[in-house]
Symmetry: C2
Subunit: 234 residues, 2 copies
């Protein structure tokens, strides 16, 4: 039997949420080399007997204090180019989490700073701004989220348990960076069986007619999908 080359395995997290009307990702500023003082996705080394997702959650808590409860979580991909890291060979498994507004992060462990950063601005210069190949991971994660809004019920993961159709529309508009017709959107989401359940009651917010409260229905897929318009328009 051959000797197996010894790899280090890391997990990295793309945690997305919407803050201040902007698609945001949780970043840390690295305390140690390599890439000390550079911004990076939270993550770290997997223990030898630790499941990958467990490791990802642990590192997230250690570095940012953010505890993902039962939020949506899925694997993005693995990144293992032979020259991707300055240390001995590393393969990194990236995960995507989508959550409603979480608490403020608090830096800990290997992180000097932990905070939410706006995605649109970050993507324009991510290669310069982020450590390792985290720019690519971020792009893949954001694109995954954007794509899943089309054909899955992922959008509900960005809002709390009770929300309105407008809240949901804001998710689509924010993540896609487009403007959607409120009337057609309303007809679409309320007409998709199992996507929304009326929660009863209304919610007043500033001017205008109060919106009916909604909660999540059993549907996990949208069929037919909500088509994404061609490109950003705002």
């Amino acid at each position: 039997m051959p000797q197996h080359p010894a790899f280090a395995v890391t997990v990295d997290f793309v945690v997305l949420t919407i803050r201040a009307g902007q698609l945001s990702v949780l970043l840390i500023r690295r305390r140690h080399e390599p890439f000390a003082e550079r911004w990076a996705l939270p993550g770290g080394f997997v223990e030898i007997d630790e499941d990958l997702v467990v490791a990802a959650r642990r590192e997230l808590v250690e570095e940012t204090g953010v505890d993902l409860g039962r939020v949506h979580l899925e694997q993005i991909a693995s990144y293992g180019a032979a020259d991707r890291d300055r240390r001995p060979r590393v393969v990194s498994v990236a995960y995507l989490a989508v959550a409603p507004k979480l608490g403020e992060p608090s830096a800990g462990d290997d992180a000097a700073v932990a905070e939410w950063r706006g995605v649109p601005k970050l993507l324009t210069h991510a290669d310069d701004a982020l450590a390792f190949d985290h720019a690519m991971i971020l792009r893949d994660g954001v694109e995954r989220a954007r794509a899943k809004l089309e054909y899955s019920a992922l959008a509900r993961s960005f809002v709390g348990p009770v929300f309105t159709v407008s809240d949901l529309r804001a998710v689509y508009e924010t993540v896609w960076g487009v403007h959607l017709d409120p009337r057609n959107f309303h007809r679409k989401v309320t007409g998709t069986p199992g996507f929304l359940e009326p929660a009863g009651g209304e919610r007043r917010e500033g001017a205008g007619r109060p919106a009916e409260r909604q909660t999540v229905g059993p549907a996990t897929d949208l069929n037919p999908p909500i088509m994404r318009p061609d490109g950003p328009d705002d």
Copy 2:
């Protein structure tokens, strides 16, 4: 700085093609423990300075003699449950390849046998039939291929450089396990700009009017997609 736990990293390949009118996957029968004599996806350990995709191609050639030229290739996901393997901790990165009819495989290296196996029958008892967690990997790979037929030009990867609309329809019918209306399918694929380019000339094959020869166009995405009918019907 902490010591990094030493992982072994493997690559596994789900190579799909259509043989004898059936969606087929390339499997090997393992020569060595663990899971000696069991069927498995081709794959093996990644060298310490080797890119993941390079390793996957190398292992495929070593074990099956199949050399993927410029065929479609993408990562499926990584599989790293802490108890997934009997050996020291292993994380496996799985790749999907889709190719037109390749040569006959020839067993080599760690493989006692290498051959194409029909996917539908395999999926019904994959957990018993395949080593490690390769049943899950196979399912994920097949589902990825099925999904990508809808919105991408992946179907062309199952056929040679010159083909007919019927060939392409056979791909969809075989991979999805459904029957499609030949007339609507023809209208759909010929009406999607950039999907097909007439290659000139025709092809006679048994009875019936000869089909016009086609070759691949520049399009990589299908918009609107070709919708997959509800379920298998043959």
